[in-house]
Symmetry: C2
Subunit: 340 residues, 2 copies
C-alpha cells in the first residue's frame, strides 16, 4: 500500500507536498521550478525584443507507458519541444501536469519523472512549473501527462502552414513509422528479429541548422505525429491551398518497419512519428537544406520526397515505384489509438 | 452513437479535424488559435522589455463536470489565470489540452468548450492553442482538461512566497469554503435552503487594483485552492520561515457554508476556493490595501485576518472566538478528492 499513489497525494496537503518533494522536484530540478510559487518567473531572454513568442500544448496518453526507445515522460518533453521548434523557435520553458490513477506505483512514477527530467536536461529546456492530480482507481489509465511549452522565434522568421507554393520542394528528415510500430509491437507483444525502436527525439537542434542554411527559402515545418506523414501533408495542402506530389520510392521506411506494417496491417504513411519533420522550401534552397539536414545526426536519412503543385482540389498524390499513382488521403489505413 | 466522441476523434485524421472545427474552434475563437499551426505565435506585448514572464499549469479533474457556479471549462480558465495573477502578472495567453473518454456526449463537450470560451473572453485571456486526445471507455472519467498560462509581470514587481516577515498583515479577499462545499453538495445531491454556489472567478482585475494601491508594501499573494486556507497559510509560513496567527472571528464564512460543513463533517479552513486570494502586506500598507480590495466586486468581503509572527516552528495558529487558540495544520479535517 505504501509504495503506491493514494487519493491523498492529490489533495493539496502534506502528502502531496511530500510526493512532489520526493519524486518530481529532484527529477526535474532547476532554479525556476525551485521558486515554489503558484507560477514560475523567468527573465525574458536576450533578443526577445522584436521576436515572437510561441506557445503549444499536447496531452500524452500513450499506452503502454514504457516502450522501446522511450516512455511517456521523455515523449511529453520531445513532442512539445518539437511543436515549438516547427516554428523555428528556440524552445525556452515547459510546464508539466500529471493526472495519476490511484494505486499507481511510486517506482513507475519515479522512472517517468526521471526520464522526463533527463529529456529536458538533454534538450536544455527546463520544466519550470507542474501540477499533480490523483483520480480514483479505474478513472484514468496509470498516468496522463500534459506538457505546454513556450519558445521565442527570432525577429524576421515567420514560418507557417499556409506558405507552401507550387514548385516548392518537400523534404522529410528521415524514416517514417518507427514510433507507431514500436508502440504497436510492444502492445501486441510482438518480437521482431531487429528490434523496432521509437524515433522519439527533440528536433530543435536540427531546426537551428536548417534555419541557418535555408534562411528565407524555408516556408514551413511540421512534425508528422498522429495520422502520420499522410495527415501532415494533407494539412499543409489544405492550409496552403495547394496540391502535393510525393514519390513513394523517395520515402525512407526501414525494412523491419515495413515488414511489421505488413504483419499489423498498417500503412506506414499513416503511422505516427515523434522525431521526424517535414519541411517545405523554395526549390532554390532545397539542395542546401538537404545537405544541412543530412549533416545532423537526426537528419541523416533526410530526403527530398516531392514537391508542391498547383491543384484546386488540394490533393496529395503519390507516384509509385511501378510508375502508377494514387491519392494519399488522411483516412487511408487503420487508425492507431493512444500512440502518443 | 453519432452524438458521442469515438476513438477516431483522437486519431489525428479527418474526424479529429472535424471535431476541432465544429466544437472547439468556434467556442474558443481568437486570431491566435486560428493560425492553425503546431504552435500559436504572439507578439510580445508593449512593456515586455525589463519585465518577467511567468508560466503556470493545472490539471482539472473535477467531479461532477457541471456544478453550481461553473463547470470544468470555466474552472480551467479561472484557476490558471489566478495562478498567474498571484505574481501580479497580466495574464496573456492560455493553452488547453483535453483528454476525453470514448462515448462522452458531444453536447456536454460543446457546453464545456463554450463555457471555457466565455470565461476566456470575459477575462480577456485567449486560449491560443489546444490538443485533443481520446481514451477508451473506462480509461478516463468524462473529460480532463489541463490549461497552462503565460503572463507578464511589469518591471520592478517581484512577489514571492518567501517574502513574508514578522509584523506583516495577512488579508483574505472574501468568504472561504464556497467552492468545495458547492462541489460536495452537488456530489452528495444535497439541497440547502440557500443554494451554495462555487466562487470560481478570475482574480486578475482585483489584483491590478491591489498592486496599484499597495505598491512595494505588497509581499505575496496566493489563491487558497486545494487544502484550503489552512494549506495556503502553512505553505507561506514554511516558505518564508515565519509563523502566522489568524483570528477565527475575522475569517468570513457564509452561514449556509458553515451549516453545510457541519453536515458534511468538513472544516471550512481546509475546503478549496477558486475565487479567493490571500495577500501578505507590510503593516503600513494594510488598511489602504483592504480599502482597495473592498472596492472591487470580488473583494467586497475582504478582511484582515491576522499577521505574520516570528516563530522558528513556522506554526499557523488561530485564536478562537472564545479566547482560546489552536494550531491550524494542513492535515486537519477531511480531504476532499477531485474538487478541481
Ligand atoms: N508534478 C509536479 N512536478 C513538478 N512540480 C510540481 C508538480 N506538481 C506541483 N508542482 C509544483 O508544486 C508547487 C505547488 O503546486 P500546486 O499544484 O499545489 O499549486 P497550485 O496550482 O497553486 O494549487 P492547485 O493545483 O490546488 O490550484 C508549484 O510550485 C508547482 O509548480
Ligand atoms: N481542443 C482543442 N481546442 C482548440 N484547438 C485545438 C484543440 N485540439 C487541437 N487544437 C488545434 O488544432 C491544431 C492541430 O492540433 P494537433 O494536436 O493535431 O497538432 P499537433 O500537436 O501538432 O499534433 P499531435 O497532437 O498529434 O502531436 C492546432 O493548431 C491546435 O492548437
Ligand atoms: Mg495557486
Ligand atoms: Mg504535437
Ligand atoms: Mg496546481
Ligand atoms: Mg505537431
Ligand atoms: Mg492552481
Ligand atoms: Mg496536439
Amino acid at each position: 500500500k505504501n509504495d503506491r499513489v493514494e487519493m491523498t497525494h492529490g489533495a493539496g496537503g502534506r502528502a502531496m507536498a511530500q510526493l512532489i518533494a520526493d519524486i518530481f522536484a529532484p527529477a526535474l530540478s532547476n532554479p525556476y521550478l525551485a521558486q515554489g510559487n503558484d507560477q514560475a518567473a523567468m527573465p525574458l531572454p536576450a533578443g526577445a525584443a522584436g521576436g515572437t513568442l510561441v506557445m503549444t500544448t499536447d496531452g500524452y496518453v500513450v499506452s503502454p507507458l514504457f516502450f522501446p526507445g522511450g516512455d511517456i515522460g521523455s515523449l511529453a518533453v520531445h513532442g512539445t519541444i518539437n511543436d515549438l521548434a516547427m516554428s523555428g523557435a528556440t524552445p525556452l520553458w515547459l510546464s508539466a501536469s500529471f493526472i495519476v490513477e490511484e494505486g499507481f506505483p511510486f517506482a513507475d512514477l519515479d522512472r517517468i519523472a526521471r526520464s522526463m527530467g533527463a529529456a529536458a536536461r538533454d534538450a536544455g529546456v527546463p520544466v519550470v512549473t507542474g501540477d499533480t492530480k490523483v483520480v480514483e482507481r479505474g478513472k484514468a489509465d496509470g498516468v496522463f501527462i500534459t506538457t505546454a511549452g513556450v519558445g521565442l522565434v527570432p525577429a524576421g522568421l515567420a514560418l507557417s502552414g499556409d506558405l507552401a507554393r507550387p514548385g516548392d520542394a518537400v523534404l522529410l528528415s528521415g524514416s517514417i513509422g518507427d514510433h507507431g510500430v514500436a508502440i504497436m509491437s510492444s502492445r501486441e507483444n510482438l518480437e521482431f528479429e531487429t528490434a523496432i525502436v521509437s524515433d522519439s527525439a527533440a528536433l530543435h537542434g536540427l531546426v537551428v541548422d536548417m534555419v541557418n542554411v535555408a534562411g528565407p527559402h524555408l516556408k514551413l515545418m511540421r512534425d508528422p505525429t498522429r495520422g502520420g506523414l499522410a495527415a501532415t501533408l494533407n494539412e499543409i495542402a489544405h492550409q496552403s491551398g495547394v496540391g502535393i506530389t510525393i514519390a513513394e520510392e523517395a520515402i525512407p521506411v526501414k525494412p523491419e518497419v515495413a515488414a511489421a506494417c505488413e504483419l499489423l496491417g498498417l500503412e506506414p504513411l499513416n503511422v505516427a512519428n515523434e522525431g521526424k519533420l517535414v519541411a517545405v522550401v523554395a526549390a532554390g534552397g532545397a539542395d542546401a537544406l538537404l545537405g544541412a539536414m543530412k549533416a545532423h545526426p537526426l537528419g541523416r536519412d533526410a530526403a527530398i520526397i516531392g514537391h508542391v503543385t498547383d491543384d484546386p482540389n488540394r490533393f496529395v498524390q503519390m507516384t509509385t515505384s511501378f510508375g502508377g499513382g494514387r491519392i494519399v488521403d488522411w483516412l487511408a489505413g487503420e487508425q492507431l489509438p493512444r500512440i502518443c
